[in-house]
């Protein structure tokens, strides 16, 4: 192995009621990509924050080039040549892409006039390197989540750090964007940069990482060992203590099942045209498409958030007009798991219980709308348990949970709500493989008990595992439909074919 650039030795970090990390060690070597793996809440992000000076370790020490160091804040780490892309987005929304990327450069000299032309030119360089074609003078708030993610990566690259920490950088990237990123990371490795890479997508980890550290419950399950000889199942075992079970679900036939949702020739002011879509009782219909295809917007139109201005929407055979989300939920019993849990899925400053219960308050309330925690708990808690949410108590603030656990809450909320149609939008982004499997089982169970499910996901394996039928959408129109044979190669080829046929036409 090469020379050790950075080392954390026996570090611990405690939060009120939570031991996030205990006696954890890791070594990063020059010119390598090091994987950091673990379930949701294992402590990966916390470790990264310790390394970058956001938190200070309660125990243990950090060594840079073998010498103990103390970081009193992010600036110290930055000055020591450590760059980071955090799991959460950290951009200034009103600033331009270019200024965001180059913000660190101005931090030193408060009165040296800013040369925007220079900034944009510099930023462009980094954007090009990532293959990201956006105008650096554009406002960040106008970008999609994926592009923001890339901007943050560009921002970290612009520091030309010796150590680069990437906390789930690919969570919201498309496969295409991921490939470009990996090419770049490999190039940096060859230039001698030492990188730490966090991801729940094991294929990615296996394709680019040289060594690996696994965390389990805040402890080292393995420390800085070579990836050589480690297979997928070995990694899984290190992470969750047992091997992965791949479900082998029987094919189901819904020809006879009554339709729950029927869209006929639906059009929206957002641009949807001629949408014909049926979801039957107990069926899971997958809606696949590339990012930007208009799937989320279609879901929101069904929910009454955006108007439908053409065609007809039928629920259980009845034509309906859904004017607002509250009606969709309370009158028509449709639920929607948002792809954007921070903005639309959760109320981060409120507790686990309040988040899990929000959709059922009205239902469980008694006379005068009176309501107790107990009555909410009775209904909501089983689902929180089922998803194995890692939280010290139901009264924990959701914002303090790890990303994956937050995602579980935003799903649990709808399981508790008991809807007849559930629309799930990218439900497993950032979720670890164990939970993902649970969630898949749960959705399958839910459909078995009669709930109709419309599944939006960009995760092809997930789509093929779960969906009974796959509808492909491209540029706000339906491109075709496939019966899911669960044959991965054939299905993914079929889907891509549908997408490109339309694109070519």
């Amino acid at each position: 192995m090469g020379e050790i650039v950075f080392e954390a030795r026996g570090v611990s970090k405690f939060f009120p009621g939570v031991k996030a990390l205990e006696n954890v060690s890791i070594k990063l070597t020059k010119g390598s990509i090091h994987a950091l793996l673990g379930e949701n809440g294992a402590g990966k992000s916390t470790l990264i924050k310790l390394i970058t000076g956001v938190y200070r370790p309660d125990e243990g020490e950090l060594l840079l080039d073998g010498k103990p160091t103390n970081f009193f804040g992010p600036r110290d780490a930055m000055a020591a040549g450590i760059g980071v892309v955090h799991q959460e987005r950290n951009l200034i929304p009103r600033f331009s892409v270019g200024e965001n990327i180059m913000l660190e450069q101005s931090a030193g000299s408060l009165f040296k006039p800013i040369d925007y032309r220079q900034i944009n030119a510099d930023a462009k360089k980094w954007l090009d390197m990532l293959g990201l074609d956006v105008d650096p003078s554009m406002r960040v708030s106008q970008l999609s989540v994926a592009k923001m993610q890339l901007v943050e990566i560009a921002k970290a690259l612009s520091l030309r750090s010796r150590v680069l920490l990437l906390d789930e950088p690919t969570a919201s990237l498309s496969p295409h964007e991921t490939i470009a990123l990996f090419a770049l990371l490999k190039k940096l490795r060859d230039e001698g940069v030492s990188m730490l890479f966090v991801s729940h997508k094991l294929e990615e980890v296996q394709s680019i990482c040289d060594s690996v550290t696994v965390l389990r419950d805040g402890h080292n399950a393995c420390e800085s060992r070579s990836m050589a000889g480690l297979g997928r199942q070995d990694l899984v075992k290190l992470m969750i203590g047992r091997s992965e079970q791949i479900p082998d679900w029987a094919a189901r036939d819904f020809a006879a099942a009554p339709p729950v949702l029927e869209l006929k020739d639906v059009a929206t002011p957002l641009g949807h045209q001629n949408i014909d879509l049926t979801v039957r009782k107990g069926e899971i219909v997958g809606l696949y498409g590339l990012i930007g295809a208009g799937r989320t917007e279609l879901a929101k139109s069904i929910m009454g958030l955006f108007p439908v201005n053409g065609g007809s929407v039928k629920l259980d055979g009845q034509a309906v007009t859904i004017g607002n989300v509250a009606d969709a939920i309370h009158t028509h019993r449709i639920g929607y798991v948002s792809e954007d849990r921070k903005q639309e899925g959760l109320i981060l400053m409120h507790t686990v219980l309040d988040n899990a219960g929000i959709a059922i308050w009205r239902r469980v309330a008694r006379k005068f709308g009176l309501l107790t925690d107990q009555s909410v708990r009775v209904t909501a808690e089983p689902f929180i348990r089922k998803l194995e949410v890692r939280t010290p108590s139901l009264n924990q603030i959701v914002g303090n949970l790890s990303g994956g656990n937050q995602q579980k809450i935003s799903v649990a909320k709808w399981l508790a709500a008991g809807v007849r149609l559930l629309i799930v939008d990218e439900p497993t982004v950032g979720i670890d493989i164990k939970t993902k499997a649970y969630l898949h089982e749960l959705l399958r169970d839910l459909s078995n008990s009669g709930t109709a499910i419309l599944l939006i996901t960009s995760d092809m394996p997930e789509m093929i595992t779960l969906a009974d039928r796959i509808v492909v959408m491209n540029d706000y129109r339906l491109a075709g439909e496939l019966h899911n044979t669960r044959d991965y190669a054939a299905m993914s080829e079929g889907i891509m074919h549908l997408i490109h046929r339309v694109a070519a036409a």
Binding site: R75, I92, L103, A107, L110, S144, K147
Partner: protein, 319 residues
């Protein structure tokens, strides 16, 4: 044209122009040199008051003590001339210094304790106003130097009041600060997302202190200008700045949560309020109805800008 329509200042500008045309059509004396001078006088000082708050809005906080700082600087300025017989410029510099120190006091406590700016500036409002009362015993200082009085009362190039000069300088510097200097960008960055700013290596506490010091400086400058304009050092100076200080930036599209203010649009916000106030006098509105009309016109002004914003938002699609 597109970018014009998108600019924050476009809505207020349209409102301002429409208001001027409308009023002048009914009352030509509105555009008389004397009237323009009066209008500019009001705008000059109110602009400084609005900037003083705008800087703090930019960083995502509130400064309830702008008026108290301005008042303290004003009576210090007048008092130093009357009691110590200091020359005008020296007194002015010292009064500005008092403003900076007072602002820094706010910023220091906010940054150091992490207690909300609202609470800290509320407490300091009491302290600064209390010092004012303790010094003046609610009596004005009359000993304002003739040169200062002349500065507040005379004009150049026709109707342009000399008081426009400090305001104009403050305008240019504030614009430059917020649009071109790292310090100003840091203020906006902290206002837009303090955590992200911190992670980008910006010192949040230092930025907060700097913003408050600048706010104090601008408030003090406003106080000094008011002494020149009113010709006496009134202890009540600053008592009712608060509402205006927020109204003008907000009319100018400032986001109260922080991270976005517009210097140009704020000036137009100040101008709109001044024009409306003056129109109410010009048109002999029943004094008992003045407040009703003022409220309605402010709603109209912000409504126009809001309408533009909604249109702009619709035309921008995420990419």
């Amino acid at each position: 044209m597109q970018s014009l329509w998108r600019a924050d200042w476009f809505g207020p500008l349209v409102v301002t122009v429409v208001a001027i045309i409308f009023i002048a059509a009914f009352n030509p004396s509105f555009l008389s040199p004397l009237n323009i001078q009066v209008l500019l006088l009001a705008i000059s000082v109110n602009m400084l008051i609005a900037f003083s708050q705008m800087i703090i809005i930019a960083i995502g906080q509130m400064n309830l003590s702008v008026g108290a700082i301005g008042g303290l600087a004003a009576i210090s300025f007048a008092g130093m001339m009357e009691v110590w017989g200091l020359p005008g410029p020296v007194a002015a510099v010292l009064a500005l210094l008092i403003g900076v120190v007072a602002g820094f006091f706010n910023g220091f406590f906010i940054a150091w304790t992490g207690i909300s700016a609202f609470v800290i500036t509320l407490a300091s409002l009491s302290i600064f106003k209390g010092l004012n009362l303790a010094v003046t015993r609610a009596q004005p200082f009359y000993g304002v130097l003739e040169s200062v009085k002349a500065f507040g009362a005379t004009t150049f190039l026709g109707p342009l009041p000399w008081l426009l000069i400090p305001a104009a300088i403050a305008f240019v510097l504030t614009w430059y600060l917020l649009n071109r200097l790292p310090l100003g960008r840091h203020i906006l960055a902290v206002g837009g997302n303090a955590h992200a700013a911190e992670l980008s290596g910006i010192s949040v506490p230092r930025t907060i202190m700097a913003a408050h010091a600048i706010s104090g400086l601008l408030a003090a400058l406003a106080g000094i200008c008011l002494v020149a304009r009113l010709q006496i050092g009134q202890p009540t100076i600053g008592d009712d700045w608060l509402i205006l200080s927020f109204a003008a930036p907000v009319i100018g599209g400032a986001v109260l949560a922080g991270g976005h203010v517009s210097t140009v649009a704020t000036v137009l916000g100040v101008a709109i309020v001044a024009i409306i106030t003056q129109a109410l006098v010009l048109f002999h509105i029943d004094p008992f109805l003045v407040q009703v009309v003022l409220g309605a016109l402010i709603l109209w002004a912000v409504g126009v800008n809001r309408w533009r914003e909604v249109r702009v938002a619709r035309s921008l699609k995420r990419i």
